[in-house]
Symmetry: C2
Subunit: 216 residues, 2 copies
Amino acid sequence: MSNTKERNEGVTRGERTRENILDAAESVFANQSYAAARLEDVAQQVGIKRAAIVYYFRDKQALFEAVESRLFLGLIEAVSARLEPTENHQQQLLALIDSCLDFMVERPSLARLILRNIADVYPASASDPVQHSRPILEFFEQIVTAGQASDEFGPVNAMQLMQIVGGGILHYATTEQLLGDDHRYQMNDAETKEVFRDLLHKTALNLVSNAQSQVH
Amino acid sequence: MSNTKERNEGVTRGERTRENILDAAESVFANQSYAAARLEDVAQQVGIKRAAIVYYFRDKQALFEAVESRLFLGLIEAVSARLEPTENHQQQLLALIDSCLDFMVERPSLARLILRNIADVYPASASDPVQHSRPILEFFEQIVTAGQASDEFGPVNAMQLMQIVGGGILHYATTEQLLGDDHRYQMNDAETKEVFRDLLHKTALNLVSNAQSQVH
DNA sequence: TGGAATTTACTTACGTGCAAGTAGAATGTC
DNA sequence: GACATTCTACTTGCACGTAAGTAAATTCCA
């Protein structure tokens, strides 16, 4: 009753192994490119032999896609849960930003996969490189469009706004160890994260505001 | 006189080949990860055999680092040229942003390499993943710090500001073909680029402004 | 209920292909 | 003719995929 092994109701050993493989593969595929990632490392992290992976996933490609799907589904679920439709488009926009930020900070593997998908002209996954991101893009666009229709937002280009806000989130979630000893931060630290969240909010609200640009 | 081949004053055949290899390698390394990139493709683009590459670059690694250095040096040069020191930190900040945006749009290969460097926990290049980016980071930080010292800027975190602005630039320069048929844009199109530049300016100025955050 | 049949969950071992690297020959150029 | 440049032909090694084997768990059935 006390330890985890005994209270996994109806979860077979195989199902656990499968999850373990996915977890390991997530970190392996996040930390290096698809081509550089080795199934040997995945197996080693799980504590099984490489060939055993094939028992659960047809090949490297299938494993990768399973990892990708699981991550994106998690994101979409997390975002949807926080997007209870409101009349207030401003709050929806901020909720979308918040949920993305929180999820990426929680599972930076996804941020890394997305960076790679963007950088790769021939992505590791399927033919359509944004098939998984699309729902998020659409959330974003719908909110902005709706906000503009109700005259709550000014005429900003939704995709450009997303490039700035989304770019910020992705980089916040991936450059933790990268900025040199003097600027290293902990993306998970509550204080740090809230400061960054405020910057994102400020940016988003400023860019969708109806006020005339102060530039020029 | 008219074509480029004829007016390379004192540039030997070998030097031209070397440049051609670098050009080809730049596109090959930009479009896919280091591990996925094939020297065969580089050679083919140049119109030589793979072994000939070795005559100029010791191995794949050396070629990659040459490509990386050339790109970063180009950026640093372009940025420096536009950063004539002024009293006005605000204009310096905008000049830095402008020069980065222009360079990335001109040579999106660099943007892709940077995205990979960020995503990779074990980057393709040397041990220090930001060795090449550092000068830019420092420009950025110095400008913000100086602006704050002179009370021109408010107390924003320089690195977080950079994550947002820099993230925006990198994504603008790399997602041209990615946003689906409905949102495809041309990053080089003057009009489109100016609109995006304004968003970046607006964002940067808003975030460094002394005004109290409107959020909360 | 206990032994046989079957399935689950792996391991060991091998084949295969691809891309990098290497050596030396051939060709071009001044 | 000598040096620079490029090619042909080969070796090496790695990582994937695949096939065959096995122990332990589960199910079947008299």
